[in-house]
Amino acid sequence: MSLLRRVRVSAALVVVGLCIQLLAMLVFSPLTFVLFAMLGIPAVLVGAASLLWTVWRHLERRPPAARRAEVEP
């Protein structure tokens, strides 16, 4: 999977998690609070962790010349 695709899948997961949280806050009940805690929070956590991992690996894999080129004018 390409970097861009990985980033977008992670972002989609985060958006899904945030939407579940939003729904739970708008219609607050025992069931929606459970959904908030059991689905909304984990989706955001997994999405954020996946994005962090993707960007971290991308930074590590880049050749040193590419990193230097970004720093030097």
Binding site: V7, V14, F28, P30, F33
Partner: protein, 203 residues
């Protein structure tokens, strides 16, 4: 107020993530862009989720949240029973505990992770509700701990002036004797069924 703030923050965070995902092809190119991407798609949503969770936990401690399940309806109305021996009614009507958190005030452990345990028990209630259904007779998962009573009553004049409390102090502290041994009526459900409610309750 905090609920509205949490809703607004969640909507903004979701919008930010969508915008970052749409512009990801530009952001992934540079180091700064990737940092912005991380902030928009990871750090901000995590912070907003933590805030939303704290608001949710606070809202789930409110009396109206607990009595929103029909299983709790009679227990909710037992707060209004006209019976000076019923513990829940006395605590509620004399404002010995905050009315907004009546259930939570007595049904959470005043110890480390007490709140978390109470929330996990609540989760168990919801699970049972949607899987096997509630049992005929509702009961606590474990005997009511004395330290929940003593958290407020220990050292209070009304408590110290009762000779039986002094006599049984060690047994009460160790849990060998239960407070409910003498103060047996937690919720007067018979009073609820009989409609014996506090006359001022409807005002």
């Amino acid at each position: 107020m905090s609920t509205a703030l949490a809703i607004g923050a969640t909507m903004c965070a979701a919008g930010l993530v969508v915008a970052a995902a749409l512009g990801a092809h530009e952001l992934v190119r540079g180091g700064l862009g990737q940092l912005l991407l991380l902030a928009a798609c990871a750090i901000v949503p995590l912070a907003v989720s933590a805030f939303g969770l704290s608001v949710g936990v606070r809202r789930s401690s409110e009396t109206r949240f607990c009595v929103s399940c029909h299983e709790m309806d009679r227990y909710g109305r037992s707060l209004l029973v006209d019976n000076a021996a019923a513990l829940s009614a006395v605590h509620y009507q004399r404002r010995l505990i905050p009315r907004e958190q009546t259930c939570f005030a007595c049904h959470t452990d005043y110890a480390m992770f007490g709140d978390a345990k109470a929330k996990l028990n609540g989760l168990r209630h919801v699970w049972v509700h949607y899987t096997s259904g509630p049992p005929e007779q509702l009961s606590l998962y474990r005997p009511y701990p004395n330290h929940n009573c003593l958290h407020c009553h220990d050292g209070a004049r009304g408590y110290l002036e009762v000779a039986l409390h002094e006599k049984n102090e060690a047994a009460l502290r160790s849990g060998e004797r239960s407070c409910l041994g003498c103060h047996a009526l937690g919720h007067d459900l018979a009073g609820v069924d009989a409609g014996n409610l506090w006359p001022a309750a409807g005002r």
